[in-house]
Symmetry: C2
């Protein structure tokens, strides 16, 4: 028993009163769930794009935090007053911009469980289930996508949930540098070697950002031309670049393969790229952030042909696989390169399980130390949809995009810029760039639908990406009708 | 209207059936809230540390994802069967290991709202409220912590929510390199200059990891000795190291100031460090991951004296300020260095608001591109606790730690290793290292409480950090009673 001579500390009672009681948590929790259901129900009637000007939202908020507690109801009420008008609604059925960011009901509840458990899985020992459920769920997904056996947790590789594909690409680059340098980069940095990283002109901007963050600088990224019609990397040009760079004393370390580019969904040829870079031992990183999850459908797996030769692979269930942001699934063929680049073991994290070598400590798989139990939401999605439900979701997106492509092709004011890629359609007004951009802006400003743009071979184009779990054919048709009106407004 | 000549696509009906109906979402959502409330209610009777062996959890799961959908109830049931036994319960009232990771009810519901909204705030235009609420909430917190005016969003600096302090420290280093190189690092990398980074021997391991990731290598980090009694950085030793390095042609770029070290809560002297490094233009990064939030109490602000001279500052509301992981608040004095290091503008993100310069695009403030609406949970915490509720929470932790320190001091088998630092107490058995570690392991194995260890001046010590919102004096006393039993078992 505690020494009775030590008096009680005067612990302020209000510290306990300030927390919600269990009953209050249940009541407010149910109210929050209902708020979300009501918000979703309201979406169809709301403009997709926020209609506010810079500063409008902040102008509705007081300049300082309150001194005294406010009820949670006040926060919920301010969601409607302050937040909702300032949102562009990513869960809206007519959100077709960028790529989707799906927040399915099952994923949301899975993530809610993670918050409630509040476990921190930086190492196996700090909550074994956080690590082991993640390993199992990533093995499930690797199998469902037809990824190589080597990526499974019982092989030399393994999977981990990263926050975003940007982080996965950065991590891949660090792993590549570690392997190429035999560990020297970890100890003494990247200086002294003129490293070179490759990606097509259509590679995601996170490749350049990764090179900047890794200390190589943006000049270390050599961009490779693409085929004008497919927008896929010209593999012959890659070979020429490698030969030239090696000749010049540069050291190729990683190639980024876009399996579904952001601009047009272009698919680099994984197998051909891997074959070209093989003799120099270049790390092959496949960035399938959006398109990778489509491989749950056997008929949408072709773009991953050759992935067995890849050293790492990333795809985002938080894009098109119904899993709440953030959930970017990343696999490596050899986890030793990854943990070699990132492991750190301070005294306070030493423990018997780690020293036994029987467990995985995920802190060595990403830049961060702390980590959330993100596997729960993916587990909930895989189970409550089942693989057949996920396939149906992907097929629905592909079918609706095909419908848009048909509508574009049937209207001679418009033209497809590239062949549709899965659920992404890229098109423009034949009239020209200004007319195309004006038509898109008119639709976005109307709030009827929300689209984003790109440039392809120097000309402006509209991107329409289907993916929300709430999108139906009627939504696609409404977006098309709005585009037709806008085109008419452009004299199209 | 759509061209009637384009036939309907055969969109599979099951793609819609697979999603939860609104009614089902409400029902399952309420059930999930209730599961969390029940889980919390059960914690007091559960062992704090997981009692499983490696592989136990994964052994309970099937090898593949299901083909057909399962009801969400099955997931909830498996939480009890598979997950809970494999958890170390971070929300347990007798979790005293590492630092706390608080998941208060208000924060959980705030984060649930973020999931339901599912907005992606990579740039202002993709959902203005995501950016503006974050700016306002970080201004509120900066004011509440007494941070410099320059950190506010209406000044030259500003704040952003990072996932973890590791990322914040890495980001600070990238900003420091950008400023020191006049932008050359961004373009051509870190090679060619022999950069040097400084931190005490007690600096968090993320400093070394940041140097590794930034391409400097671990050898670029020079560790500075600490005062044996306070464990704070020896500022004279820092000055000597800088002089020696500059003389040797090295280029000092950043100093890490621990305002609350992980091991013992040691406080480096921010003002003195800043004064020493000033003449070389070294970036001063204050890592107050755990202790920084205590500054909501004016009487616990002393360790931040001199912070007006810091270039960047990080503290984690997800540690001790009742906000669900992840929420690491990071401020810089000059946002130009930060965005200069990290900005990227691909075509598809170009927009009028960005080009106007009137808005902040947070994608340029961190390694990731995509970002969640994490400000909602912090907003919910600040409002529903109010500053007085937050102060009461911090004071409760400090008072309970003081009680533990009194109990240690009153028992001559034990001794304090350092003076208590806020809510952290570090102590050991006088009998020796083995006895100390065995006592801690006995308590951890019993499940009665969970503690972690460190070494101080080469000797083992137990750390007890108070911080959970569920911890009362009775919990602290039970942990102490368990330690006394364990000490007796060690012949203490």
């Amino acid at each position: 028993m505690p020494d009775q001579s030590v008096p009680d500390q005067s612990v302020p009672d209000e510290s306990l009163r300030a927390h919600m009681s269990p009953e209050e948590f249940r009541r407010q929790g149910h109210a929050t769930i209902d708020w979300i259901a009501d918000y979703w129900a309201s979406l169809d009637g709301l403009p997709v794009r926020a209609q506010v000007a810079p500063g409008d939202v902040r102008g509705l908020l007081p300049p300082s935090a309150p001194e005294s507690p406010e009820p949670f109801d006040a926060v919920l009420a301010d969601l409607d007053r302050v937040v909702v008008p300032g949102l562009t609604h990513w869960q809206h059925p007519r959100f077709f911009a960028y790529f989707p960011a799906n927040s399915s009901p099952a994923a949301i509840l899975g993530d809610l469980v993670s918050s409630g458990i509040g476990a921190q899985g930086m190492i196996w020992a700090t909550s074994p289930a956080v690590t082991e459920v993640e390993q199992v769920v990533l093995d499930w997904l690797a199998e469902a996508l037809g990824l190589p056996e080597a990526y499974r947790s019982d092989g030399p590789g393994g999977g981990v949930i990263q926050d975003t594909a940007s982080t996965a690409t950065f991590t891949a680059l660090l792993s590549a540098l570690h392997r190429a340098s035999g560990g020297a980069v970890r100890r003494s940095g990247v200086g002294g070697t003129r490293w070179r990283v490759y990606g097509s002109t259509q590679a995601h901007s996170s490749l350049v950002k990764a090179a900047m963050m890794a200390g190589l600088g943006e000049d270390a990224v050599r961009t490779i031309d693409v085929d004008a019609s497919t927008q896929a990397m010209d593999v012959d040009a890659l070979r020429d670049a490698l030969l030239e760079d090696v000749e010049a004393g540069l050291r190729p370390v990683m190639v980024h393969v876009a399996a579904g580019s952001t601009s047009t969904g272009a698919m680099d040829d994984v197998a051909a790229v891997a074959e070209v870079v093989r003799e120099w031992g270049v790390w092959v990183h496949v960035d399938a952030a959006w398109a990778g999850v489509a491989a749950v459908c056997p008929e949408h797996r072709g773009h991953l042909a050759g992935v067995e030769a890849a050293d790492s692979f990333v795809t985002n269930p938080h894009k098109w696989l119904l899993t709440t942001f953030d959930c970017s699934t990343f696999w490596v063929r050899d986890r030793a390169a990854l943990t070699g680049a990132l492991s750190i073991l301070p005294e306070y994290l030493r423990n018997a399980a780690t020293e036994s070598g029987e467990v995985v400590d995920y802190r060595d798989w990403h830049p961060q130390l702390g980590r959330r139990f993100r596997a729960v939401k993916l587990w909930a999605v895989l189970r409550t949809y089942g693989l057949e439900g996920l396939r149906a979701h992907v097929r629905s997106g592909v079918a609706l995009a095909a419908r848009v492509a048909d509508l574009v092709s049937a209207d001679d004011r418009w033209e497809l810029v590239t062949e549709p890629s899965l659920s992404l359609v890229v098109f423009r007004l034949r009239a020209g760039d200004e007319e195309t951009m004006a038509a898109m802006e008119a639709v976005n400003a109307s709030g009827e639908a929300y689209l984003s743009h790109t440039t392809v071979e120097g000309r402006a184009a509209i991107r329409l990406a289907v993916g929300s779990w709430r999108t139906t054919q009627a939504d696609v048709d409404r977006a098309w009708a709005a585009l037709q009106d806008a085109a008419a407004g452009q004299g199209g």
